[in-house]
């Protein structure tokens, strides 16, 4: 595992943290091939082949590390791992490709799937990182109104919409268009069914380490600030209320770290939902507290901690805990 995580850690510290700050302020600096360059350097998409047995724990470790530098890049991989973790039990998957699916999955949008002609038509809105995806797992409706999800490989046209998220920059949100799109033979179609709950839960498996990374980053920034910032002749880390806030963030981080390696056993779908619901408020509070430690500076973009809150809140909104509470 260390062999896999070490280069990622090095990359995060040396390049990702700085670049992520830049991409947040100037998303146009994140070009289409930037993601491919990152992937070329780290080969994260190859993880399922590198160590099949430990894939999930490795993937969770990678997501956590990436999130400690950049929430948006970690998010792309978390989505990819969730989709591939779910699909790899059902079909053989091409290696080294980025999988994307709609993440606001309760939307009632469907593509038209003409099975006999092997054609696809229609559009889907609100696809995050749709421009980076190579393989899509998408909701489709057949002529006989049979509905399900289809694995689609190939290029699609993508038009960027106004990003509706407060964070996760430089990822774009857009519309993927399929006009008379020809499909390959060997990809998977899953008719609507109970599997969908499992699919949704896979995202949560990777979101918990993602939150862990975000909180770690927030803690690092606010802790360093508290050590270096002097008020009244002493570093503010000596002030009891600042120490209290930092300790509370540390406690949440410890819990999240523990849960990030939570073993996936039977009844895991139910359990991961409970874990997600129980930890999400604490995770948000921890990031809010990191800003609080820094006072006005924490609210300003230059100090880089407010971005973490925007990233976190974007993800929480996409995977609203209400979706899991009300079911």
């Amino acid at each position: 595992m260390e062999e896999i995580l070490k280069p990622v850690e090095k990359f995060v510290k040396k390049e990702l943290i700085e670049n992520c700050h830049l991409w947040d302020a100037e998303p146009q600096q994140f070009r289409k091939d930037t993601f491919r360059q990152i992937e070329k350097k780290l080969g994260i998409l190859q993880l399922p082949e590198i160590d099949k047995e430990n894939f999930i724990s490795n993937a969770r470790g990678v997501v956590r590390l990436l999130a400690s530098g950049c929430g948006s890049i970690a998010f792309i991989y978390a989505v990819n791992f969730a989709i591939t973790s779910f699909l790899k039990e059902r079909t053989s998957l091409p290696s080294g490709k980025l999988f994307i699916s709609p993440v606001i999955i309760e939307k009632d949008d469907w593509l038209f799937y003409f099975k006999r002609e092997k054609k696809l038509s229609g559009k889907l809105d609100g696809i995050i990182a749709g421009d980076l995806g190579e393989i899509f797992f998408l909701p489709v409706a057949r002529e006989n109104d049979e509905r399900g999800w289809l694995l689609i490989e190939g290029t699609t046209s993508y038009s960027e919409e106004n990003s509706f998220l407060p964070g996760l920059r430089p990822l774009t949100t857009g519309r993927i268009n399929f006009e008379n799109f020809s499909l390959k033979d060997d990809l998977l179609f899953l008719p609507q069914g109970e599997w969908f709950e499992e699919f949704k839960s896979w995202f949560l498996i990777y979101l918990i380490p993602l939150f862990s990374g975000l909180v770690e980053n927030a803690l690092n920034i606010s802790e360093n600030y508290a050590k270096e910032r002097f008020q009244g002749g002493q570093p503010i880390i000596e002030i009891p209320s600042v120490r209290r806030l930092l300790n509370s963030i540390r406690a949440t981080l410890a819990t999240l770290n523990h849960l990030s390696s939570y073993p996936i056993k039977s009844r895991w779908i139910e359990e991961i939902r409970k874990i997600y619901i129980s930890i999400i408020d604490d995770a948000e509070e921890a990031i809010l507290n990191s800003i609080q430690v820094m006072g006005g500076y924490g609210y300003m973009q230059d100090y880089r901690v407010e971005r973490i809150l925007r990233d976190f809140r974007s993800i929480r909104s996409i995977f609203s805990p209400l979706e899991y509470i009300t079911e």
Binding site: K107, D125, Q231, Q301, S314
Partner: protein, 477 residues
């Protein structure tokens, strides 16, 4: 990426009225509640006409296109309704509004956009020391002139500059001033002072015509020499260093200001040297209530969005009002808003009752003051009145400190600020749980309010500082 011009205006659904009849009727005497309702109605009318249709676009422009954009058209419309001069005494031509009334105005405007509301809020904060100077000389030269300029269609904005780069919340309380690393200093010179140093995060700092600056006249003795000065933005040596890139409330700029040997005449000093501590405490005792109101407004705005969204027919069941879980969450949101509203109404009404001269006296003074205006406006008379004003202020400060009224009010106001701001963040977060991302314009408006909300836990003293300053009273015998 351009702003989507076809985006509908932020929808307004006063859903809270379904849950609770306007509670202020039960709270305060009827005459006041009528005034509150009039203010609330006017603020709603203003918000619907000017803020809701443009708040998202202004947020977008400042974040993506023009960092220094100020919505002057809205400010001018608010000015016409007296929102800039709301707190100025009637004798100066202002509306003579009470703190509680201003808080109601702030709540309703903040429900639409706390950034825009805060332009008016920070203006009142900036003018507060001038209002509380009870000094006809200062009133004439600043408030009267500001109101006259407003009549000509020219907004005159005030700002309050207290926070320093190396002393954040420190400078807002006594102990902090003793230990704080002050950088600003107004050294006494012939005829006045020379102010040098920097102030940071100053709301309205880059658009203000006048900045009320807190500074020590001897920074080694910050507590004893903390004083209040008025600086014009056209003064030599004054510079706006930068406006900050904030997460939210972007319509109201936060600026870093530099003072390089800026000369301040003695007549632009509010109160005697060393009275700045009490003045700060008085202003915070007044303004933390309205900050609680801004916070309540943010929560109310988020609640209205969430409830309005949940009430739509095409909202998915998991997020719909048809779902009992959503109804429960909405009621919990509103319960917290009620608590926050009651807290700020209590704090601000208390301020008006304890620390302001009775309204009957203030209103009664209007006619004789106006009759005497030609006399008052003579330079030599104004100078004399300035000295008398300082003496009155000194006696007033002695009274509110020795009677314990200031401390009592300070605790209440700080508490209202903490309750309100925690409510704002909590409710805004829940609204984002309810509204599905991409369901515009509900979603865009709600995520904006969430970004806006975090700031209220920070400004006017962080919530931790507020709790500490309340908690310290437990130590007193």
């Amino acid at each position: 990426m351009k702003y989507p011009e076809d985006l509908p205006s932020i929808p307004v659904n006063y859903a809270e009225e379904k849950l609770f009849s306007p509670e202020i009727n039960h709270l305060v005497e009827k005459r006041l509640s009528k005034r509150f309702e009039k203010i609330r109605r006017d603020a709603r009318d203003f918000s619907e006409k000017f803020i809701y249709p443009s708040a998202l676009k202004i947020d977008w422009i400042i974040k993506n296109e023009d960092h220094d954009y100020t919505p002057w058209d809205i400010v001018k419309e608010g000015m016409k309704r007296g929102y800039l001069s709301f707190m100025y005494p009637k004798v100066t031509g202002g509306k003579g509004g009470l703190t509680a009334e201003f808080a109601v105005l702030m709540e309703e405007l903040s429900a639409a956009c706390p950034g825009i509301a805060n332009i008016f809020g920070a203006n009142a904060l900036g003018a507060a020391a001038i209002v509380f100077s009870f000094n006809p000389d200062i009133w004439e030269r600043y408030l009267v002139r500001a109101v006259e300029a407003e009549k000509m269609g020219e907004p005159v904005i005030f700002a309050w500059a207290i926070t320093e780069p190396s002393a954040g919340s420190d400078v807002e309380y006594d102990e902090g001033l003793e230990k704080g690393t002050l950088t600003c200093e107004a050294k006494p010179v012939v005829g006045g002072f020379r102010l040098s140093g920097r102030k940071v995060f100053i709301s309205n700092g880059s658009i203000a015509k006048y900045i009320v600056v807190k500074a020590a006249t001897d920074k080694k003795r910050g507590r004893e020499t903390w004083s209040t000065f008025i600086v014009s933005s056209s003064a030599e040596g004054f510079r706006v260093v930068r406006t900050e890139y904030k997460m939210g409330q972007v319509a109201c700029p936060a600026a870093e200001l530099e003072f390089d040997e800026v000369f301040i005449s003695r007549r632009d000093t509010i109160g005697p040297v060393g009275s700045g501590r009490i003045m700060s405490k008085l202003i915070l005792a007044a303004s933390r209530g309205p900050v609680g109101a801004i916070s309540t407004g943010i929560a109310l705005g988020a609640f209205r969005l969430a409830a309005g969204y949940a009430m739509r027919e095409d909202t998915p069941y998991s997020r719909s009002i048809r779902n009992p879980v959503i109804r429960e969450i909405l009621v919990e949101m509103f319960n917290r808003i009620r608590t926050a509203r009651l807290s700020y109404l209590e704090a601000t009404s208390n301020f008006d009752k304890l620390l302001l001269p009775p309204r009957s006296i203030m209103d009664g003074a209007e006619k004789p003051y106006r009759a005497l205006t030609p006399l008052i406006r003579r330079e030599n008379i104004l100078e004399k009145l300035h000295r008398i004003g300082d003496k009155i202020l000194e006696r007033y400060f002695d009274h509110i400190v020795s009677s314990g009224k200031l401390d009592a009010q300070y605790k209440l106001a700080s508490s209202a600020k903490v309750i309100g701001s925690d409510t704002a963040v909590w409710v805004a977060s829940r609204a984002l749980d309810i509204i599905r991302p991409g369901d515009h314009p509900y979603w865009l408006a709600a995520q904006k309010l969430y970004r806006d909300a975090k700031l209220v836990q920070i400004y006017e003293g962080t919530n931790q500082l507020n709790k500490q300053s309340i908690g310290n009273f437990l130590l007193t015998g």
